[in-house]
């Protein structure tokens, strides 16, 4: 694991970077004023992946502050409606995103989705520009099907660090959820905005799952089993 912070040099030398087509990921700032010089702008784990004709450099950094990007799957809270849109909050103290009434499965002018203030939705970010409102959608626009998006009923939301949320989402066989799935049944929706919605069979299981996810982000994978045992004992499940 190579960790770098701002002020460091890129761990890859220039000739390697120039040899193949390069894609630069987040946390590396390409300065247009300094002849596209690359500098490390955030602290995190550096990765360099190479394929036959292309290569990728990224810095994976964790924070508590979500900045939207197109295609991100998020868990949001409905704050209300105006005109033909719902206002959806992605994170606190940030301008809300908008979700059109039409961006649902089977929605028409007459058949409007019924979301109340405070309800949760699982959605995809369909448009993002820092200068205008973020736009969301709750269906796949090519097929018109919901495909798992839409309102989340029951369950509860845990807030985790963004790095941990991405880890849960993009590592299908991550030990955190694998251990949990051996213990109980649950439904989960992971938002890369650091909100994880989880629903167990009953209220106590949901609570235990919730505490498990929250505490798992501060533990090494070896300690997960012990945590599960402790929580399940604590809740008498």
């Amino acid at each position: 694991m190579s960790i770098i912070i701002p002020g460091d040099q890129l761990p890859v030398d220039e000739t390697t970077l120039n040899s193949k087509k390069l894609t630069v990921g987040p946390s590396i700032y390409v300065d247009p004023l300094l002849d596209n010089q690359m500098t490390i702008s955030n602290a995190g784990i550096f990765t360099h992946k190479e394929k036959k004709t292309k290569q990728l450099i990224t810095v994976e950094s964790s924070s508590k502050n979500y900045i939207p990007a197109v295609g991100d799957l998020i868990v949001g809270t409905v704050l209300g409606g105006f005109g033909e849109f719902f206002k959806v909050s992605l994170s606190n103290y940030k301008p809300p995103a908008i979700l059109s009434y039409m961006a649902f499965e089977n929605a028409t002018k007459k058949n409007r989705p019924n979301l109340k203030t405070g309800s949760l939705v699982y959605a995809r970010i369909s448009a993002y520009d820092p200068n205008i409102d973020v736009e969301l959608e709750c269906f796949n626009p090519t097929t018109g099907k919901a495909e798992g998006f839409g309102e989340l009923t029951g369950g509860t939301v845990v807030e985790v660090d963004l790095g941990f949320a991405r880890y849960l989402m993009f590592n299908e066989n991550n030990p955190v959820l694998e251990h949990l799935s051996k213990k109980c049944q649950f439904e989960i929706a992971i938002g890369v905005n650091g909100k994880v919605w989880i629903k167990g069979g009953d209220l106590v299981t949901t609570l235990a799952c919730c505490q498990y996810i929250e505490q798992a982000q501060r533990l090494a994978s070896g300690e997960l089993e012990q945590l599960l045992k402790k929580l399940w004992k604590q809740h008498n499940i």
């Binding site: 002020g7 460091d8 602290a43 964790s62 200068n131």
Partner: protein, 230 residues
């Protein structure tokens, strides 16, 4: 005096740090980028809000002066165009200030207060760097601050507390593992141009030493954040 620091001390802040240096202890919390009030909004860049709370009593013009200084140079360090029309709040609370019974004895004896400002700025700047890294806010370069003193005998020491003829606060930016540029300097007392340049030169060396220490701390905090990968 040696720097002593912790990262991530406040749970509800986006990033935070606690630094004690030269008998002064500062806790820094950074929030943002978040939605700006209409009068703060800048169309192409982020608005920086720096708030300093003194150890005792309410903020005065003295704190406002420090806020301004910190804000000015942080503006050149933070990559503002990544956060247009947003606000980043830097809160600095001075927790502890040991009374160093006014070691400043120049002929003009301007005031011990100005000299205190240097000590506090020094601590605040280092703590702001650690908190910015913790908050994951994009910055062009790393930076740190050192304080140097010319004693009455004329020797230059890296110290903020001993009796002094003049004191120099030096903040360097660090990029690609090298000292990049002088970001900010503040001087109190009576000194010649040559002496100032000598202090700046010394600052370059010391700033790399301090940087390696701050780096160690930051790397450790990143490891803590990604503990679930182990």
């Amino acid at each position: 005096m040696e720097l002593d620091a912790k990262i991530g001390v406040l749970n509800n802040a986006g990033g935070s740090s606690e630094v004690s240096l030269n008998g002064i202890k500062v806790v820094c919390g950074i929030n943002g980028p978040m939605e700006a009030r209409p009068r703060q909004e800048l169309p192409t860049t982020c608005y920086l809000e720096v708030i300093i709370r003194p150890a005792i009593g309410n903020p005065t013009v003295r704190e406002k002066y420090m806020e301004d200084k910190i804000k000015n140079f942080l503006n050149s360090v933070i990559i503002g165009n990544l956060y247009p029309r947003q606000v980043i709040q830097v809160n600095l609370q001075i927790l502890e200030k040991k009374n160093n019974n006014s070691s400043y004895t120049s002929d003009s004896d301007e005031s011990a207060a100005t000299e205190d400002v240097l000590l506090e700025l020094n601590c605040c700047i280092n703590s702001a760097f650690l908190a910015l890294v913790d908050a994951n806010i994009s910055i062009y370069k790393a930076f740190n601050s050192n304080i140097f003193t010319y004693t009455h005998k004329g020797s230059l020491v890296k110290d903020g507390l001993s009796e002094a003829k003049s004191r120099h606060l030096v903040v360097y930016g660090i990029k690609n593992n090298k000292v990049d540029e002088l970001l900010y300097g503040e001087n109190v007392g009576r000194f010649s141009e040559k002496k100032l340049f000598m202090a700046l030169e010394r600052g370059e060396k010391e700033s790399m030493i301090l940087h390696s220490k701050l780096k160690e701390l930051s790397v450790e905090s990143v490891k803590q954040k990604f503990v679930y990968l182990s």
